[in-house]
């Protein structure tokens, strides 16, 4: 190569990498909200609620002492049984989410490659999305054996839509000229999918994943209310028991832990997303 012909001094500046610096502002907000939340809670449980109804919402410190700090008491009270049932629901949510991801993304790929299929499937996806799935419980029970499978089905039905819609939207988001670049090289449909459409879809896929993951947890918890047969049960069933027996502290403890599971899953996928695409993807934030 003739180096005399090379150009060695591009003067345009490289735009510096904007790294996320530690910022106080990022932490002060959640702390303020947390303090306000606890304050409102105290207000509700010791001022607003009439005396005879206060057992419904014990004060925060009572939830700690009677819920979180009791390991095991009676058949179903205490942190240990709550954590066990939470683990049971977490497994349902994760298995259900995995099924949703595989099925949902495959469906999106098929829909993206066939306008006909997209047209044919879309209305039904929207319908499933807006249908009150839990109203179908008698039908699900009649068609499918085994509470585990029934619970998984609820998770899949509830979590499916965001994965399919976001993946599909992402797969169709590549520029026309980027497609033409591939056309010019005679790229196959598969090559185009793997090297263009799928990477282009990743930001949307992660958005869908985060939403679906949250929904999967909800699906697992509420599915418990309807599908269970004694034995080890999910957190939803546990919550139902506490609710019926008016065990306020345990009820609140279980609810907080169920929400925490949702939060953890949400944060986890946010973290995966930043790891996977943070280097090149620009979020549409003004600052």
């Amino acid at each position: 190569m003739n180096t005399a012909n090379t150009i060695t001094n591009p003067v345009e500046e490289v735009i510096p990498d904007k790294t996320d610096r530690f910022s106080f502002v990022d932490y002060i907000g959640p702390i303020i909200v947390f303090v306000a939340f606890i304050a409102v809670w105290y207000l509700l449980s010791s001022v607003v609620l009439p005396e005879q109804k206060r057992f419904l919402l014990p004060t925060p410190h009572k939830v700690l002492t009677d819920g979180f700090f009791v390991w095991h008491s009676g058949e179903r009270r205490g942190l240990q049984p709550i954590l066990l049932s939470l683990w049971d629901s977490a497994k349902i949510a994760l298995i259900g989410l995995s099924i949703t991801i595989v099925v949902g993304m495959s469906l999106a790929v098929l829909m993206s490659s066939s306008r006909w299929l997209e047209r044919a499937t879309w209305p039904y996806l929207v319908a499933v999305q807006s249908a009150p799935v839990l109203a179908l419980t008698p039908l699900i029970r009649a068609l499918i054996d085994g509470t585990r499978t029934q619970r998984l089905l609820v998770v899949v039905l509830i979590a499916m839509f965001p994965i399919v819609s976001n993946t599909l939207f992402g797969l169709l988001s590549a520029d026309k000229s980027q497609h033409e670049l591939f056309t010019l090289q005679g790229a196959s449909k598969w090559t185009r999918l793997v090297k263009l459409q799928f990477p282009a879809a990743l930001p949307n896929i992660f958005v869908g994943l985060r939403i679906s993951a949250g929904l999967a947890v909800i699906g697992a918890v509420v599915g418990d209310f309807y599908f269970r047969q004694g034995g080890v049960v999910g957190i939803g069933a546990q919550i139902d028991v506490y609710r019926n027996r008016l065990w306020g502290a345990e009820l609140i403890t279980a609810i907080i832990l169920a929400s925490t599971l949702g939060l953890v899953v949400f944060l986890f996928f946010g973290w995966v997303s930043r790891r996977a695409i943070g280097k090149w993807h620009i979020t549409n934030r003004g600052h």
Partner: protein, 251 residues
């Protein structure tokens, strides 16, 4: 159609090419010209007259409805108006892309990409992502990507249209150096008459839609060209003539 070029030295030739789109828009009307090795031909014309369509026909992105277009389709470089880089790939991986689509072995395409990156002066930026580059640098990366396969014919659809004047002039010089170094035949589209004259061996003027070639100007200046050429009287005179023809084209 992929006929071999008619004459042995013409790398690209249009023979009475016409184009009418499905819904009836007539974009090109009997366009004929050819480009030999070592020629750099620029087409100027009113907006919407069919310049992009001409390139799309040459590269087979669109099929012409009349006439023939002869070109070696396996040896085309195409530079789009925007850089069309893949944001998830680094500069080096972007430059490798076309070689990758042609299934060249990894070591080979890495070597070719490194060469092309050197040619466009992007060394040191191999591991940057497109979002970290300025518009001019993205365009260089895009050029490098097309250079990798050493195409014999290079099609440019207003590649520098979105850049500022200074960056554009710098890239003009760099592209001319590549043109001399690599010896490809160039077909270039631009809205800038100065750019057209500065770059080309020949400037063609197209009429408003349906596009026809209404004037052709040979550019007599020898390469390598110096940017001061833009202020020579002969240069200005030629620009004036082309501008005049272009004004006629709008009528």
């Amino acid at each position: 159609m992929s006929d071999a070029p008619a004459s042995s030295s013409a790398l690209l030739s249009f023979n009475n090419v016409s184009m009418t789109f499905d819904e009836g828009t007539k974009a090109l009307d009997n366009v004929s010209f050819s480009i030999n090795a070592g020629e750099f031909v620029t087409v100027v014309g009113p907006s919407g007259c069919g310049k992009s369509t001409l390139l799309r026909i040459a590269s087979n992105l669109e099929a012409n409805t009349g006439g023939t277009c002869a070109i070696d389709r396996n040896s085309i470089g195409y530079v789009f108006q925007d850089a069309t880089l893949m944001p998830w790939r680094t500069v080096a991986r972007n430059v490798e892309l076309i070689a990758e689509l042609h299934k060249l072995p990894k070591s080979e395409r890495q070597r070719l990409a490194a060469e092309a990156i050197e040619l466009v002066g992007l060394n040191g930026f191999e591991e940057k992502y497109p979002r970290q580059l300025s518009g001019g640098m993205r365009m260089r990366a895009s050029l490098a990507r097309s250079l990798v396969m050493k195409p014999k014919v290079f099609l440019f659809d207003e590649p520098f249209g979105a850049l500022d004047e200074i960056t554009r002039e710098r890239l003009n010089d760099e592209l001319l150096r590549l043109f001399q170094h690599e010896g490809f035949a160039g077909l270039f589209i631009t809205h800038s008459i100065t750019e057209a004259v500065y770059m080309s061996t020949k400037v063609l003027v197209m009429s408003a839609r349906p596009g026809k070639i209404i004037a052709s100007f040979d550019v007599p200046f020898a390469y390598p060209r110096n940017h001061d050429l833009r202020y020579e009287p002969e240069f200005g005179e030629l620009c004036g003539k082309i501008s005049h023809a272009l004004r006629g084209a709008h009528e």
